[in-house]
Symmetry: C2
Subunit: 318 residues, 2 copies
């Protein structure tokens, strides 16, 4: 019992200096350290946080997960990760498995529009923070994607581009992207610029090949737009690559703007104009919100945190 008190260094733990020293000495000598599973079993909670993102290898999420991991480590918590690959059942499976391990909380960048399963999780007693999406019914941290889309649109308008195209991912339910597109489209429309249906392009994914296919489609249709907004840097970089391969000059023939400001945006074939979002802060802040719940179990009002994006102008759309 005394040993337990020494190792759970919290609040009213009355152990004399001397015994404490003796316990620590003995632990050192014996190589003892507390069994966190046993502790977790009795407290019905572990010092771990579960994280589910769409793709771990995506530099955007990699940066966020890194931020989360570091913030958790600072509080002595371990980080368990799962990559949903945009499969909602995979996402559910990870969350369920986290619960079976009694992670203290869960941070999720959700696949589906509906967040009903997260409400269940939270009502089941596991704090939940949603990443990169607004969530009226709970804590969430996201960049203001609507504003981000607007920034791009205003940039195009300022430069006089009126023949504008859009390249999206196949995420009908990824509302972050929806917001970007909405802000973009709306601001253009307010100035009388409409995106022609044949310039409203949908890639089957964000890989170099999948994006190349979209570019080919556009060029075969005779090209047309003078400016292109790709909803992520990963796509924009692939697009520029293919355009140049096909002899189209960027930005002289077509300007391209991306989104995210991943580390390589500045070093792309043509340095990429993009919307920067504070990835590290997204990670940090999501952890902060989560621990607000974990530490005090008081049911405060849900916090919706929205971070400001920033347009970074580089050569791809000067």
């Amino acid at each position: 019992m005394t040993v337990s008190r020494v190792f759970s260094a919290n609040k009213l733990n009355t152990v004399s200096e001397e015994t404490q020293a003796r316990v620590l000495a003995a632990s050192e000598a014996l190589g003892y350290s507390p069994n966190l599973l046993a502790r977790g079993l009795v407290q019905n909670r572990t010092t771990t946080v579960g994280v589910v993102v769409l793709e771990l290898a995506n530099p955007f999420f990699a940066a966020i997960v890194s931020g989360i991991q570091v913030a958790c480590a600072k509080r002595g918590f371990l980080t368990v990760v799962g990559e949903s690959g945009r499969d909602e059942f995979a996402e559910r499976r990870y969350i369920e498995q986290f619960r079976q391990f009694r992670t203290a909380g869960v941070i999720v960048s959700p696949v589906t529009r509906s967040l009903a399963h997260l409400i269940e999780t939270r009502d089941g007693g596991t704090p939940v923070v949603v990443l990169e999406r607004r969530w009226r019914k709970g804590d969430c941290v996201s960049a203001d994607d609507n504003l981000g889309g607007q920034l791009v649109a205003r940039h195009f308008l300022r430069r006089g581009f009126r023949r504008v195209g859009l390249v999206r991912q196949p995420d009908p339910d990824h509302s972050a992207v929806r917001s970007r597109v909405r802000g973009f489209r709306h601001t253009l429309a307010a100035s009388g610029v409409r995106i022609l249906p044949e310039w409203d392009l949908q890639a089957s994914g964000s890989s170099i090949e999948q994006v190349a296919e979209v570019v080919d489609r556009l060029l075969q249709a005779g090209g047309g737009p003078s400016a292109l907004f790709a909803v992520s840097d990963v796509m924009a970089i692939g697009i520029i690559h293919r355009l140049i391969e096909r002899g189209v000059r960027v930005p002289e023939d077509i300007a391209v703007v991306g989104y995210d400001d991943i580390p390589f945006a500045a070093c792309a074939q043509v340095p990429l104009t993009t919307v920067a979002i504070p990835k590290q802060s997204l990670g940090d802040t999501s952890v902060r919100l989560l621990f607000d719940r974990i530490d005090k179990s008081s049911p405060d009002a849900a916090q919706q945190i929205s971070m400001s994006p920033e347009l970074i102008i580089r050569s791809s759309s000067p």
Copy 2:
């Protein structure tokens, strides 16, 4: 007890079809699922794997971690991650914390040359696989970095470059990089090409700014080399970026070769010649080795797996 048998679906678990169905129905109705902490406590092992890498946000490690995570998920295991940030004490801390949680095994890309602490871990009963490093005394998975360095050197020689420079990271103990450099240097030397000390450059890190500083140093010294080998793509891409900013043409004035073949290498400002290493396979294979240990506790001989790198020639050094 019967419930336990149903949920631990292994080997000789004799439960009649009918009871099994009844148990599952009841569990469904009650929302029951086994408490993995309790199971872990009694078995003294959980269905989790711990991973420590140098940097999570680095695309090279992001790809590997993604591979590991997917391979673990396939076997129903969760993945716990830690980012050491090249701090050996951080690495040790994560490994110790993993042990306290009884992860079934550990995959580490180690910071230090000495792997003594990993031997301790393994002798303490936790299987260990070392990533991106050879480890005579245990299981390891790495690319053949010496060969990779040779490939670059041979490429330079074939192209007639004899004024050759090298840009390294500040990893005195990162033996993967050491092997690359050794293979590179040795092959050049065999053809009478020596790297001048003033062209043997050391960046203080691999960020864009840190690499830019090295390029500036080189140019202020009057430039010189006709070809540059950077020990990672991340650095090579930053180097090319700065060279172009400074009005130096790549590859006309200086050819640049990187290492890793990260996804953006092909889309760099000048598409990057590099050495591809099979990142996904590194992740997969490390998990396979780990489970070889986890599944059969038979103390087989250690496996040293070395994967072949491949030179990918793009425009930066045609």
